[in-house]
């Protein structure tokens, strides 16, 4: 009995030690890299924006988004993808600010004083977190905020953003608003379960209740919208009036990442580790490609290749029609960031604090071109620039 008692006590102590030391809540590289004019812009979990040369992976400059006081209480990680407006590169931060930097600044270090544009989403110092990507149309930008607001700002004659209007959903908006030019509307989903359509004056056109949270960004083709929800359902509806066309409810997990469309198939990645290929007109399943790990990162299509990466870093290339596996690469680190495509290469932010570039060869095999670790903290072994290509 004494032996079992000791084993019991030992197990308890081990569990406590593990639970105390486990690094459960560390932020991860979420923001998708953005390629523009031979530079890759990447926003980091440390709240920095880094410009990297696409050819040789050298760092052009890096900018900070938070001062030391902000860092105490605000999540530093930047989730939103950088975007270009008026020749400046912008980021939306976790502190509810939108900061614009000169693309060509050429400085090694860009401080807060070098910010050329600053938009505050709140009168307080800290505004709502921005997770979804900010999109622009003409002189307006549309900002999805975690407090449930879709904010519209316009670039005025003084070359400054001024607020135009906002639409209040009941809960956070974590996805990227969709601009429907034909119907002159902006479509976005919210955690309150509704898919909303508003015009650029923030007037509601229609809304559809899915009764579950919408995290993945909706996509649009031929006047139809496609999106998934956390109650394991995938929907298609008319963009003009929000009328439901079909729904698919035969998945085992949440639809998180954004879907894709090619020819007559919608590809819907799921946290159950599967990619569902659904017929876009009926919602019937054509095939399901299964992996063992959730797919958080939004996939891309390049020629006949469907390229995606699982949460545990398994980069795979499959044929988009036959689902035949063509190539793979074990990144071996967690990946949350959406994949960015530029010509025949893809760019991924990895949670070890690096950006990686892969060339997708003609046979579908990925070939690692370069890897750029960007952490600068002292004694951070992730800073080690010696690396062996993973593929």
């Amino acid at each position: 009995m004494k032996f079992f008692k000791k084993i019991f006590v030992f197990t308890f102590i081990s569990l406590i030690a593990i639970s105390c030391t486990a690094d459960r809540f560390q932020g991860s590289g979420w923001s998708s890299p953005f390629v523009h004019n031979d530079n890759v812009y990447v926003a980091t979990i440390d709240g920095e924006l880094i410009s990297i040369n696409i050819e040789n992976a050298s760092e052009n400059w890096r900018a900070v988004s938070l001062d030391d006081d902000d860092k105490k209480f605000v999540a530093k990680a930047i989730y939103s993808k950088p975007f270009i407006f008026d020749n400046k590169v912008f980021i939306g931060t976790s502190a509810g600010k939108i900061l614009g930097f000169n693309q060509q600044t050429g400085l090694d270090e860009v401080s807060l004083q070098d910010i050329e544009e600053k938009v505050l989403l709140s009168e307080e110092n800290f505004g709502p977190m921005i997770v979804g990507n900010i999109v622009s149309k003409d002189k307006k930008i549309f900002i999805p905020a975690s407090n449930g607001e879709l904010l519209v700002f316009e670039y005025n004659e003084l070359e400054m953003f001024e607020p135009v209007c906002s639409y209040n959903a009941q809960k956070a908006i974590w996805n990227t608003p969709l601009i429907d030019d034909k119907n002159e509307q902006i479509i976005f989903g919210s955690m309150d379960g509704y898919l909303y359509s508003v015009d650029d004056k923030c007037n509601l056109n229609w809304k559809y209740d899915t009764k579950s949270s919408i995290v993945g960004s909706p996509i649009l083709e031929d006047g139809k919208i496609y999106f998934g929800t956390l109650n394991r359902k995938f929907y298609s509806m008319n963009a003009s009036d929000g009328k439901l066309l079909w729904e698919f409810d035969d998945s085992k997990g949440w639809f998180w990442a954004s879907p894709l469309i090619s020819s007559d198939i919608v590809y819907a990645p799921n946290l159950d580790g599967g990619i569902y290929a659904l017929r876009k007109n009926t919602g019937q399943i054509k095939w399901k490609y299964e992996t063992k790990n959730p797919i958080v990162s939004s996939p891309v299509i390049m020629d006949n290749f469907l390229i995606f990466v699982t949460k545990n870093g398994d980069l795979q290339v499959i044929h988009k029609d036959t689902k035949r596996k063509l190539g793979s690469c074990n990144i071996d680190k967690k990946v949350y960031s959406a994949i960015e495509v530029h010509q025949d290469s893809i760019f991924i932010q990895v949670s070890d604090g690096s950006v990686r570039a892969y060339k997708i060869k003609k046979n579908g095999n990925p070939d690692e071109l370069w890897r750029k670790p960007f952490f600068t903290r002292e004694n951070d072994d992730r800073n080690n620039e010696d690396w062996d290509p993973s593929c």
Binding site: L15, S19, R24, W30, V74, M191, L230, R232, G253, P294
Partner: protein, 307 residues
Amino acid sequence: MEIFADIWNIVFIRPMVNSLILLYILLGSSFGLSIISFTVFIRMIMFPLSIRQTKQMKAMSLIQPKIKAIQEKYKDDRQKISQETMNIYRQQGINPVGCLGPLVIQMPIFIGLYQSLYITLPSNPENLTQLYDSIYGFIPLINQAIPIDGKFLWLNLETIVGSADNYTKIFLPLLVGASTFFMQKTTATPAMDDRQKSTNRMMLWFMPILLGYFTLSFPSGLALYWLISNVIGTFIQLIITGKIQNLFNLNSKLIDENTNLDNEIEENKNIQEEDQNESDRNNGKNNRRSNRHRTSRTKRKQRRSRN
């Protein structure tokens, strides 16, 4: 290590996370009420453990004078000290690490709850994907309830206290600090020497200040958990120690038992003082008187045990 993390998740985190979400659904989508009811439930489950811990701690305090006397008597023989100390423990039926036992069992529950609250109220996308790993996805209601609405009274339960409005930023750490102070005050065992007294005093002030400061970097939901847990803990402690006997006539036998323990501690102190005085007076030479004294002490002990 990974296998331990998996066990930890299966045994503690997943049941706690799903219980919190189910309570949230049952209690009209109020996560504040879910936290409060879950904290009450956990505290109730651990009620017998709290009693045992208190009793063990008091029993330890009770024999401190004897241990101190042994340490004085055999100050040059460490082996003898530990031998005699163990004898006392055996005679009194005390397990020297017994008072730590309940604490050890409570620790993973509290740490698990702490982590579960973090997971259940995801403040960023990574945590929400982590929530996916922790829920029982086969229960459709749970999928529909996500994300949890963190609004409760004036609080936004997922917001870090330090970045909340000024009212929350000031009052929540104060409330957590004050409740920790009262909790410390009720659980503190009587000090037997100056060193213990000063340690107790330091802990009484240090812990509330520390926790109040930590609260600034907690989500408000965790601060609410600490606050409620402290309030219930203080309440339970007051019941166990019999300090609210007149208000709440609960478990009178238990109260009597503990009141007796308190008296015993006091009496033991007196005995020690008497011993000291007598030994000073007689310098340990008068065997007859010493025997008489021992007899009177035995009588007193017998009287106590009859009580």
